[in-house]
């Protein structure tokens, strides 16, 4: 479990990193926290000619509260920073909760949001969160910057639309309606593992009816996704056992779960529906001020 040989470039600015990537003609890889990349190198699943280390790019490590009530997050922000950020807890409590499920302390101290999004594991929390929260991702390349909607960024399991000489730099989260209710549930066999499935819901209660509903799931498809039919099943009426059941059914109908050693597609489909139900109940309880009952 030793990596194959590579050369090492320590970048100190975005421009330097992009130049180094371009100079290696697609044979270089960015290394951020290294928590996903280094295992792949040690398993010899990857053999890049060069690693471009972005840990020295200070300008990519920030969490800024924006005037509109949203957040801008630098790609090098560590998981631990998001987990403990008061701005995240206040503006996007669903994200704060999701971070509690990302790996273990030692990994959270190194792993970065940019790394997690670029790695695009189907069962990773951050890709699901940027999908749920309609984030805009800023990417720098040799030709300058471009902006991508989160929904357009992921392109299948472990795949994104990033070009080999592009660097993800910033994640912008537009504001959520305040106050709002939220719910997040996931299941993994062991604490800190990638989840077998997870569900997240954000909504508001407008005159007793569910509104502004966002519902996303992960672990049950190549990429995390919002389930429009499930959102529609909830909007415009009070959340009830019936609407919850309808939303869960819509999710089970929409997803195409993978099979692996830890769970069959049938089980995952069942599981994600159950998690969706729990997430909706929590979100509704919070939105209607009955959060005491929410887990």
């Amino acid at each position: 479990m030793k990596p194959p040989p590579f050369t090492y470039v320590a970048a100190t600015s975005v421009a330097e990193a992009v130049a180094a990537l371009a100079a290696h003609d697609g044979e270089a890889k960015v290394i951020a926290g290294g928590q996903s990349l280094v295992p792949m190198l040690n398993f010899r699943l990857l053999a890049p000619a060069a690693l471009v280390d972005i840990n020295g790019i200070r300008e990519l490590d920030f969490v800024d509260a924006t005037a509109d009530g949203g957040l801008r997050i630098g790609a090098l922000t560590r998981h631990y920073t998001l987990l403990t950020s008061p701005d995240v807890a206040e503006r996007f409590p669903v994200l704060g909760e999701a971070m509690r499920h990302v790996a273990h302390l030692a990994i959270r101290n190194r792993g970065t949001i940019g790394g997690s999004l670029s790695h695009a594991d189907p069962a990773a929390e951050l890709p699901m969160m940027v999908t749920l929260l309609d984030a805009t991702l800023t990417v720098a390349g040799p030709g300058g910057e471009r902006q991508l909607a989160a929904a357009d960024f992921f392109d299948g399991a472990l795949t994104t639309v990033l070009a080999e000489d592009e660097l993800l730099t910033t994640i912008t989260l537009p504001p959520l309606p305040q106050p709002h209710g939220w719910g997040f549930h996931e299941f993994a066999q062991r604490a800190g593992d990638f989840a077998l499935a997870a569900a997240a819901v954000v909504l508001t209660a407008d005159d007793g009816a569910a509104a502004n509903v966002r519902l996303a799931v992960m672990g049950v498809d190549e990429n995390p996704s919002r389930i429009a039919a499930a959102e529609a099943a909830l909007v415009g009426q009070p959340v009830s056992d019936d609407t919850i059941a309808a939303a869960a059914a819509a999710v089970r109908e929409a997803v195409d779960p993978p099979e692996d050693l830890h769970g069959s597609a049938t089980y995952r489909r069942h599981l994600v529906g159950g998690l969706v139900e729990r997430a909706i109940r929590d979100a509704w309880a919070r939105a209607t001020g009955n959060a005491g009952g929410a887990a």
Binding site: M1, K2, P3, P4, P5, F43, R44, H104, F187, Q189, R190, A191, G192, D193, L196, L261, H262, G263, S264, T266, Y267, H270, L271, G274, L275, E277, R278
Partner: protein, 792 residues
Amino acid sequence: MDNLPEDLPADLNLMEMRPKIIGARVQRVEDPRLLTGTGQYTADIKLPNMAHLAFRRSEMAHATIDNIDVSAALAVPGVIAVYTAEDFYGQITPPRAESKTEGFHSTPILPLADGKVRHVGEVVVAVVAESRYIAEDAAEHIEIDFTPLPVIADPREAVKNEVLLHDDAGTNVLVDRTFGRGEVDDAFSQAAHIVGGDFRTTRKTASPIEARAAVCEWDRGRRTLTLWSATQVPGVIRDTIGDVFGLSGSHVRVIAPDVGGGFGCKTCLYPEEMVACAAAIKLGQPVKWVSDRMEDLVGTNQAFDEYVHAELAVDAEGHILGLRADVVGDSGAYSIYPWTAALEPVQVISFLPGPYRMPAYAARTRAVATPKTPLGAYRGIGRPTATFVMERLVDLAARAAGIDPVEMRRRNLVQPHEFPYRTGSGLVWDRVGFIESLDAVTDSIGYDDLRAEQLKMREAGRKVGLGVVCYAELGGIGSRIAVAPGMPINTGVETANIRIDATGAITANFGTASNGQGLETTLAQVVAEELGCRVEDVEIRHGDTSLMAHGSGSYASRSAVLAGGAATVSAREVRANVLKVAAMIMEVAESDIDMVGSRIYVPGTDREMTLKQVAHTYYQEMGRLPKEVREEVPLESTRSFDPYLGTAACASHAALVEVDPVTWGVKILKYAAAEDCGRIINPDVADGQMRGGIAQGVGVALLEEIIHDEDGQILTASLVDYVLPSAVEVPIMDVMHVESENPDNGTGFRGLGEGGIIGAPAAIANAIADALDIDIREIPITPEKLFRQTGN
């Protein structure tokens, strides 16, 4: 005697006033070293000019090797040598573990696959290079032409011998044994209830934090081989390596330095150790191999993996009448050295009757070769499977007879007046706390109240279940009982060498080897108590074959009993000699002096000497003592201890679990275990052994499984897929020690090290079955399986 009042009555029995060292919560003396990173593990050993070894392992489960092209690997800069099987012809005589077990067939342990491969991960080519990085780069450049052979991965198919793994064995069934007593058919025909069916325990691996490692140095001038190995059995390795390379034992030294866990998987001779030695001898340069986790998951001997058909017959009151079982064990590709393929599957039927009265028993077990990593030893060996099956049967029978499961066990446990009790398989339980441990555990969880509470929780829709289990094991086994009859080594004896040197320091040498379980502390406690010194005065040395003539190491819950026994007899002899010498120096009668805390004194007077002063006089002051004293009264003793038989140890475990009907995840709400390990040397160490074993049992029950596909490919090749429990999954537990009546084996110690893992899977399985009103036949019990089993 700082802590005794000065005005002691002269006739006071000082033995009774002595501070007790055995039984005290002495802090582990090895911990400061291990916890501050100043321990030395095999991987820490760096020698001048040391080369590094990596292997090219088989990607095929069963195939002939038609050609190996190593030229590209040899061309990689920094590569020193590349070896295939032929390179060791004439240098290595592959060992074979023989056995007189009926129907036994041995297999060789090869340094490298020769002509054919028999499992994925088998070592085929060895690369020696200036660094491990280079060695791994080069290994990738080796071209091997394989012709696939048919793969029969399921041992129940392999018994048909349609495809042979070892042509010279002539069969895949390496062991076929039957045990029994009584009229089993009669028992079943009289039964009010017969329960049972097919049970399955899947393959596991021990996964110590420190994987295996070896560093070998060959001194050309002295023709002496030194092998540092992360092993539990340095003595066994020394004896075998001597034979493998045709060297006398005085020219082979095997050192097990600090070892980071073993749990049984480090009790075998492995191919990599032979290759490291062979390469060091060929090159005249030290060679190091450190297993990485991927290698560990395919190259370290694995465990469990049995198919058990078992049935239990009981009468209308739930009394057990008889038991029958048929076990097929998946032995993997080779019969391990020195334990043979008999080890795991034979233990299953040896221990299946458990701590219960068993009038009639009939069992058959087969060890079947399949193209998988060999099956070896893992904590508990066979007994976790035996206990899982038997305790499921007892719960099933209780349910069929309409009896509470705890009451069912009380009715059938061997009662105090029935000891010694010969079990259906021929093992003998001496007086041990079967009932006492069941009482302790049911009291601790408040069994009756908890049942009432469970009913309420279930009425509220919660899926909560309670499982209680009992088991018995045999520990501290002497020379009367061989793991396999005719096995190449004697596991029934250990030796201690204790000496006081010219500085007055006490060194105690043993043939054991610690792999983290606290032996340096517990053996020092035994020596200190028996000799009359303080724990910190004793230097424990073991894990080095240059210390002892013979010693087989640490495994099978044996070290406390056997090495502790040897320490006892040896320390008593040294003490007697110290007192004899001191009496002569102090010119008093031997019977008038005592030694406590390394001070020799005449009670009731102020006359005393330190051990250091006695040693100085004895060794250094010429003319002070008659020459006969130095010639005949050594301040040193080498004594062996053989408990001849073994002694029973037992425990009861209880688990309260809740199953989430959405995720089908299992949460352990409460866990309690009470065990009888006889006289306790150190309660903290005993607790730690139990807790660690139970943690592993949680993994066995809920998470861990080595999975192969039908082509023999391993699908769980990293710790992402082989799921070990982490601290979060391990419950808070209540661990209790009961002492019934200490065994008459010289020390009162019983074996303890394996117990936790034996009871936990069964307790958890029974609790889940109770929670969901289902039968559990297979471990691990995963969410997926529960989802399917509950009709989804």
